[in-house]
Structure formats: C-alpha cells, structure tokens
C-alpha cells in the first residue's frame, strides 16, 4: 500500500522527534497551563467563556508546535523573501479591510475567527532577516548591511504603526537589536550606538521636551486612555501586585482582580492577577519558567549547525524575551503602559499561536542538527 511507503518516507522526521529538547517543551506547556488557570481566575467576573476559548487556542497551538517541529526549516529559509512579502501583504490587507479593536485597525477576521497580521509579520520578518544576515560572509557587519537590516524591519514597523498599534511595532526593535548583535555588529558600533541613543534620549526627555510634549508621547503610546485613566490602571496594577506579598491571597481570591478594580486583567495585565493571588513565590516560579524557556532556546542556538538557524533563533528569542520583560515591568509599574501581551499567559488567540509556533520552529531546528540536509 502506498500508505506504508509514505510512512517510511516520514521516518527521518520521526527520528528527529526523538532528539527533542524536552525542557523547552515542558517550559512552554507549563506556562500555557499557568496561563489557563490565571485566565480562568481573571475572567471569573466577565461575560463570555474566556477559559474555553483560550483552551482551544492552546490545543491548536500544540498542534502548530508539532507541525512546526516536523517542518524542515530550510524550506522556510529558502523561501524567506516571498514569505516576508506575504507577511507584508497581510499587513496591507488589514489596513484596507481589517476590523478595528481598541482604536487600531489590527484584525483580519471571518466568521468569528480572527488573526492579527502583526503577529505573523514578526515571524516572517525574523525569517528573512536571518537569511539575509547569514548570507554576509564576514566577521563584522558594515554600515551598508546595518542600514539594509534596518530597512527590512522598518517596512513592517511602518505598516503596523499605521494601524496604529505602536506597542506591536516597537516589538520589532529588540528583534533587530538581538539579530544585529549576534549577526556581527562591531562591538564599538554597538556600544557607541547604545550609549549615544541612551544619552540623546534621556537628554531629550528631560531637557528638550515640555511637559505637555512628554504627556503627548505617553498618550501616543497608549491612545485609549486619558492621563487620569492610565494613572489609574498603573496604580491598580501595583496595588494588586504589591498586596500579593510573599505567598499571595490564594487562587481566585485576589480582591483587586475579583472586585474588578484591575482593567485588562485577563489580557495585558494577567500577570498582576497571578502576582496578587500567588505572591512573590508565584511570580518567581513563573519568571523561572520563562528563564527555562529562554535558556534552553539559547542553548539550541549554540549547538545549531547553520548561521541562518542561529540567527533565526536569536531573533525569535529576543522577541519573546522582550515581551516577557516589558509586560512584567509594565505590570509592576516600571515602564509606560502599551498593549504588549505576555507570552503563553495573556488571553488571545493569535499571540498564543505565535508563541507555540516559535517554540516548534526552534525544536525543529534542534532536531535537524545531526542530519545532512
């Protein structure tokens, strides 16, 4: 039977699965479970069935992870440019016919199923950038390569900023920074650039701008809320987090969350619910799971055979890490509020799917390290 033949053709892929990095899988699955539990608690007072929907997305995400792991990533690298163009076309489509949510035209949807093209574009952009940077056969990058890399990232940034979704657009910056760093940017250029940006930015922020201009930038980053509203959200989030103290108030017992003081508590501020109900110990445990995911992903990068693979992993991990760091810092009140969700924990289909796909892609790269493709 032909089925037997096609099965035997799949054998190399199956063999690859046995070489899987189980720690990375475990980190992803545990985070997703923590996410489901927290979304359940956070949405207890909300209309609709967030738990079931998120559960469905986690299920689909697991399938996507498996599919991505079995997929030969070389095919993706080979077609990186058309795939990048496809990502851009999605971004243009959403500008033309997308649905508006939270003030931004960011959703493509049909019959109740929605997709945020910005999430897809993160992946497609990382892919082409990896393929481009890997093609440069030198130890350090020249100015031309840096500018070109910047342009590759600038196009999707501009399209997403038009929606306008500044938070998502900003996420491309760490992606670029991480990949340039590993891709071979000159140390002097890197350090010089960072210091110059910091000094200039700080000087501008503190001396160059009037109060109203600063406020304008803050509200530009967060167009939905008046200053009073944004202040309220931060304050409520800090109260939720702080009042969790060492051991937390107990699952489903967070007064801030359950009494509806905390806005966006099942999406961008889901971590505040977790921190309130599980305390500092819970916070540390979950941050530990994120560290476990990140460390294992970096280890895979260290042992990957191809430069494209290393760069792709670095881009994806930078993106993932920045989401984690920015969202948690926002919840604890260190950085201004923008709509940046927390991987695996925040309620939301596209983003959950993206994180599982990223995990699967990294697993797939790892599985191919012994094979002569």
């Amino acid at each position: 039977m032909s089925g037997a033949f096609s099965f035997s053709e799949q054998r190399p892929a199956l063999r690859n699965v046995t070489g899987i990095d189980w720690a990375l899988v475990a980190a992803a699955l545990m985070l997703a479970l923590v996410g489901l539990a927290t979304v359940n608690s956070a949405s207890a007072e909300l209309a609709g069935n967030q738990l079931a929907r998120q559960g469905l997305w986690v299920g689909i995400g697991c399938c996507a992870m498996l599919a991505a792991a079995l997929f030969n990533y070389r095919t993706l690298i080979e077609f990186a440019f058309p795939i990048y163009l496809f990502g851009l076309s999605l971004l243009i489509t959403v500008l033309l016919v997308g649905r508006v949510a939270g003030g931004a035209r960011s959703w493509l949807g049909y019959a109740g199923i929605g997709l945020q093209p910005a999430e897809v574009a993160k992946l497609t952009t990382a892919l082409w950038l990896a393929s481009y940077l890997a093609s440069i056969d030198r130890r350090t990058l020249g100015l031309r390569e840096i500018v070109l890399s910047g342009l590759i990232v600038a196009v999707p940034i501009a399209l997403i900023a038009l929606q306008p979704d500044l938070g998502s657009a900003a996420m491309f910056v760490p992606l670029l920074a991480g990949m340039l760093l590993v891709g071979g940017i000159d140390r002097k250029v890197l350090v010089g650039g960072l210091v110059a940006a910091l000094v200039l930015g700080a000087a501008l922020w503190f001396f160059g701008l009037h109060d109203y201009q600063r406020q304008r930038i803050t509200s530009f980053l967060n167009p939905n809320a008046d200053p009073l509203g944004a202040g309220y959200q931060v304050q409520q989030s800090k109260i939720a987090v702080g009042s969790g103290e060492l051991t937390g108030k107990g699952y489903m017992q967070g007064t801030q969350s359950q009494l509806r003081f905390l806005p966006a508590r099942h999406t961008d501020f889901v971590f505040a619910v977790l921190a309130e109900e599980w305390g500092f110990l819970g916070t540390l445990a979950v941050l530990g799971l994120y560290a476990m995911w990140i460390v294992n992903a970096f280890r895979i990068a260290l042992r990957a055979r191809e430069k494209e693979a290393v760069l792709l992993i670095v881009g994806l991990v930078s993106l993932f890490s920045f989401h984690v760091v920015y969202n948690t810092a926002m919840v604890v009140g260190f950085v201004p509020i923008t709509g940046i969700p927390l991987p695996f924990l925040s309620y939301g289909g596209s983003f959950t799917l993206l994180n599982f796909a990223i995990t699967g892609l990294i697993l797939g790269i790892d599985a191919k390290r012994y094979v002569n493709a």
Binding site: R139, L228, I239, G242, E245, R260, F261, L287, F334
Partner: protein, 602 residues
C-alpha cells in the same frame, strides 16, 4: 549555510552576550517584584484592604436659559440623591428594602434605577433615588455606620420658572436611556443616572448646555470617607443660552391659547427671531425635572390632544385661504394677473367639469385682487389657479418654504407637504387631475403646512421677499436666506391687499381690526368634515368643527412682527383665529412705553 570553524566561537560568544543581557533584564524585573511585593507589600496590602482608589465625577453645572431681555427662564436648584455602592453592600436586596422603607418609595422604583447601573463596575455608585428631603438626608446619614453602601450626592435640579408657558420651546431633561447609553460614542460619556435633554432646546443644545463633567481620583477609606485627592480634572460649566423669545409676549400668547387646542408663532420678520412659540395644551416640564411620577405620565400620554406635541412644528394642516397670499404673489409675478384685473363672482364657477363654490353663495360680484383678498373670494383664486397651473403653484409654494423643514433649532420638525404631479405619481400612485389644482388654489387638497412654516412665509411677504430662517438662539442663524423671485412692488401690493382684510369690508375687520394701527393679515378656514357644511359652529361636535387660521404682520409699513394663529376646531378663521392674533398685536404694540406712537393714538 554551514558555519565555518573560525566564525563558530565568535558567533557563540555573541549569543552568550545576548543571553546575559536578557538574564540581567529578567533579574531586574524579578528585583522589581521583590521591591513591590516584599518591601512595599504591607503598604499595598493596606491600600487593597481599604478599597481605596475611586473615580468620582464632578458634575458640570448645566447652562441656564434666558429670554431676549435676559430674564431667567431655566435655572438650577440643589437637590440630593441617594446612591448605592454595591461592592460595599452585604446584601443589596436588604439595602433596597431598607431604603424603600425609610424614603417611603416603591421598592420596584429603586430596583429599576439600580438595574440601570448593572453594566458598571460594582464599586461605581449607582443613583437609586432623587430629590431627597433634608430630613431624609439626615436620617440616612445617621445610619451610615450600619449601611456603608449608601452615599448622598448633591446634584442640581432643573427649575423651569414659567412651567407650561415655555414648555415646548425649552423641553425638559430625563434620565439617559439604555439606548442612549448603548450608543454612547467617544465624545460624551454618559453614565447611568445622567440627565440629558429629551425635548426642545434642552435636547437640541444638550451638548452645549451640559458642559464637560470633570473627574476626581480620590482615595477613600473602607467607609467611603475621603482621605486624599490624587488627581483632579475640573468640570467646565455648560454655556448659558440667550433665546429670541420675548417672555411677556410668550406668556400672553400662552394665556390666549389656554383651553384651546392649537398654536401661536410670533416672528420678527426682519431677522427670523422667534418672539413667541406656544402649543396648547401644554404641560409642566418641572414634572420631569425630578423624574416624572407614573400617574403624571399616564395623564400626559392619555390626553387625546397630546400635550407633549409641539403643534407649531410637528403638526401640518391645509393652510386654507391664508394660502391666497402665496397665490397672489405668484399670479402677479408670473404676469397672469394685474392688480386691476376683474373677475365676476356669482357664487361658483365650473372648471374641468366640476362646480367649485365660493364661500359666499350669492357671490361677490365683480372683484379685483384687493377686493378678492379682503373678502376672500374663492372664485377669483380658482380662476387664478387655473391660469397658473399646478407646476407653477408647486414651485411658488416651495419658494415660500413650504414642503421643507424651516431648520429651527428644535428636533422632530415636520416638513409638511406640497403636492404636485411628481408627488401624485410617485407618492400617491395616482396621476394628478386638473380639479385638484383648483382646490390647491384656495389652500385645500393635499397641501399641508406647519404654523411655523406659515409664519416664515408671512415674514417673507412682510420683509420684502427674504425667506428668513426662524431661530430661537439670540445669536441668530447661519443658514442661507433665499430670496423670493418676486419684486418689491409686487410684495407691497400683496401687503396692501392683506391690509384690506382687517379694514372695513374685510373678512376680519369686525373681529380683528385695531384702531390706530395699520396692519395686514389673512384668514383661513379648513373644512374638517364635509358632511357638516351648513351646520353652525356651536352645534357641531368639537372634533367636527373647522380649523381656524390667521397669519398677520404689523405695522403695514416696515413690519416688525408676524403672528400666526392656528386654532384647531376653532371654527372660521375670522372668528376663531383673527381675534387671538389681534389681541396679541394689541399686547405687543400697547405695552407701556413699548410703542409710544400707538399708546398715544389710543
């Protein structure tokens, strides 16, 4: 691409550098949580326990409304309301029981009010009872320890100083409806319990009058007492409005229409200022100010004459013979008649195989335009209409502003109806027949006009041909003022002819002539029931009596006021409407010191 050996170490070093940076950032975040949760945890626990932060609305005082002399028509008076904070209630049902008993109000009413706030967060207090007495406030305050869920708020109550006399123009406020809350757009942020304009000026200028509510972010303790103010965004008061109404004239007009059904409109023909607008029967808007009682509401909507309707703009009827002023202007301008052309009236005329009757069965004899107008001879105008044809009549009626809303600052204004051939085919589905033209010539048939439209058309005759936009705001209207396609001489002739109506020999001389004042007008009578022709007015059931119209302007030279009276089932125009208009003119020109010339002559 396979990594060349000499690059491998460098690449891995760079990956390690990046992982160190990420670890440091994660470590900093962990440190942040350590700071907030462990070092400052106690502080935040206290805040969380005391349920501290709260956003309170600072109500913007609503703008007041004045008449043209600056006399106050609407003001705000303080009033107390009771709110319930559901997040602090042990048992909301028990709280409502308690409040209903203490206030001696139906529990269902409080419950209904509370339901309006169900979409709000629990900690957002919901108003459940308005208009508390000071004694009730004191009793509730005494119970604040046992019932921390209750809060008292000082609000403002709208006080309409002249109640029913200005009801239809000013309108009233009501609690924002669920529908209005649901389509609450980006701009105005209504909350349950907010009062919004529901009718009249209050509705039309709601966004201007209401101002911008402010907001305070405050920290309160567990009993709801204010501990500290965190941020404040002050309220901006609503704008005070000055209207074109003349309170004295408005009150007099209301007095003249009391116990009658209908409306009066008085305009300044030079500007379009609405000096008075009365619709009868009326209602007391103060009933709505504190939430209308069910019994009062039933009485209002149960009244067959619909007191809530503004008859000056929401009701259209045939204009009857008042329309002859439009016909005369059209005939002269189109060159179909000359002022001295005579028509012989023997009491009827047969046109298009149908016998059309004059009001006077024995006929008026030979009449020119001036006589035909003064005596309201139908035969003269039948012949004129027959010569003009419906197309030109339709065009002229529209030029006088009929068939479209005037654009006054009130909602739900009706456009009325100017019939014509296109209308007959498209709207009615039956071709125009020539006999209809003859009916329309004397303002009968399908033609329908509102009293305000009639006032505007009369103003155009009075001011020499400008179609002004009637408006209530003293600052005037910015809408264009189209010109009638009629010469000044033509309109002078029409005014002269209308003066004949109130002069000896005219239909309204005996009922409406004013000694010492030269003025003009036109009567109109609308047949209500064909079967009642010949039955005296007094012997008919009220609903079968004719409608009476009168449209007048004064003085004859440079008119400064237009008055239109529409008296439903008031009988003939000359007896049911003209005397009312005449009385109002007398009031306007006879006020002490107001018009010295007339006072001296009297």
């Amino acid at each position: 691409m396979e990594i060349q050996r000499q690059f491998r170490n460098d690449l891995n070093l760079r990956v390690r550098v990046l992982s160190v940076i990420v670890s440091l950032l994660l470590g900093m975040v962990a440190g942040g949580f350590w700071w907030v949760q462990l070092v400052q945890g106690g502080h935040y626990r206290e805040l969380a326990e005391n349920n501290r932060l709260r956003r309170l609305t600072i109500r913007a005082p609503r703008g007041t409304i004045h008449d043209r002399q600056g006399q106050l028509l609407v003001e705000n008076t303080p009033s107390y309301q009771l709110l319930v904070d559901r997040s602090r209630a042990e048992d909301v049902d028990a709280s409502l029981d308690f409040a209903a008993e203490l206030l001696d109000r139906p529990r269902a009413e409080l419950e209904e009010n509370l339901q309006r706030g169900r979409r709000q967060p629990d900690y957002q207090p919901v108003p459940v009872a308005r208009n508390l007495t000071l004694a009730e406030v004191a009793q509730l305050s005494a119970k604040s320890l046992e019932h921390p869920e209750f809060e008292i708020d000082v609000g403002h109550l709208r006080l309409y100083r002249h109640g029913p006399q200005t009801a239809h123009v000013l309108g009233y406020l009501g609690e924002v409806s669920e529908a209005e809350l649901a389509r609450n757009g980006a701009a105005p942020h209504f909350q349950p319990g907010d009062l919004v304009g529901k009718k009249g000026i209050e509705r039309h200028f709601d966004s201007v009058l209401r101002g911008d509510d402010g907001e305070r972010m405050v920290i309160v303790d567990s009993r709801g007492r204010l501990m500290q103010e965190n941020a404040r965004d002050d309220a901006e008061s609503g704008v005070d409005l000055v209207l074109t109404l003349d309170l004295g004239l408005q009150q007099e007009a209301e007095r003249l229409m009391r116990d009658k059904v209908g409306s009066i409109v008085a305009l300044d023909p030079r500007t379009g200022d609405v000096l008075a607008m009365v619709s009868s029967p009326s209602f007391d808007p103060n009933l709505f100010a504190s939430g209308i009682q069910a019994a009062d509401w039933q009485e209002l909507i149960g009244n067959d004459n619909d007191p809530l309707q503004n008859r000056a703009i929401q009701n259209f009827h045939s204009p009857g013979s008042v329309f002859k002023m439009v016909m005369a202007t059209a005939g002269l301008s189109e060159g179909v008649i000359a002022p001295q052309d005579r028509v012989y009236c023997n009491g009827s005329v047969t046109l298009h195989n149908h016998k059309f009757r004059c009001g006077r069965l024995s006929g008026h004899g030979s009449v020119n335009l001036e006589q035909a107008m003064a005596k309201s001879c139908n035969v003269y105008f039948y012949q004129l209409g027959n010569k003009l044809g419906i197309d030109r009549i339709e065009r002229w009626a529209k030029a006088f502003g009929f068939g479209e809303a005037t654009g006054i600052e009130l909602d739900n204004e009706k456009a009325g109806l100017v019939p014509g051939k296109a209308w007959a085919l498209n709207q009615r589905g039956q071709a125009w027949y020539p006999g209809e033209t003859i009916s329309v010539s004397i303002g009968q048939g399908a033609l329908g006009v509102t009293p305000l439209q009639m006032a505007r058309a009369t103003a155009a005759v009075a001011n020499g041909g400008r179609l002004v936009t009637p408006h209530l705001l003293r600052s005037g209207s910015t809408l264009p003022e189209p010109r009638l396609p009629a010469s000044a001489d033509t309109l002078t002739l029409v005014r002269q002819a209308m003066a004949g109506v109130v002069e000896p020999g005219g239909t309204a001389h005996l009922t409406a002539g004013i000694e010492g004042l030269r003025w003009g007008g036109k009567t109109g009578t609308v047949q209500v029931a064909a079967g009642q022709i010949g039955v005296p007015h007094e012997d008919r059931p009220f609903r079968l009596r004719n409608h009476a119209w009168f449209a007048g302007f004064a003085p004859l030279e440079d008119p400064e006021i237009v008055v239109v009276v529409f008296n439903e089932h008031g009988g003939a125009g000359s007896t049911g409407a003209a005397p009312i208009a005449s009385d109002l003119m007398r009031f306007w020109f006879g006020r002490d010191g107001a018009r010295p010339a007339l006072v001296a002559e009297r």
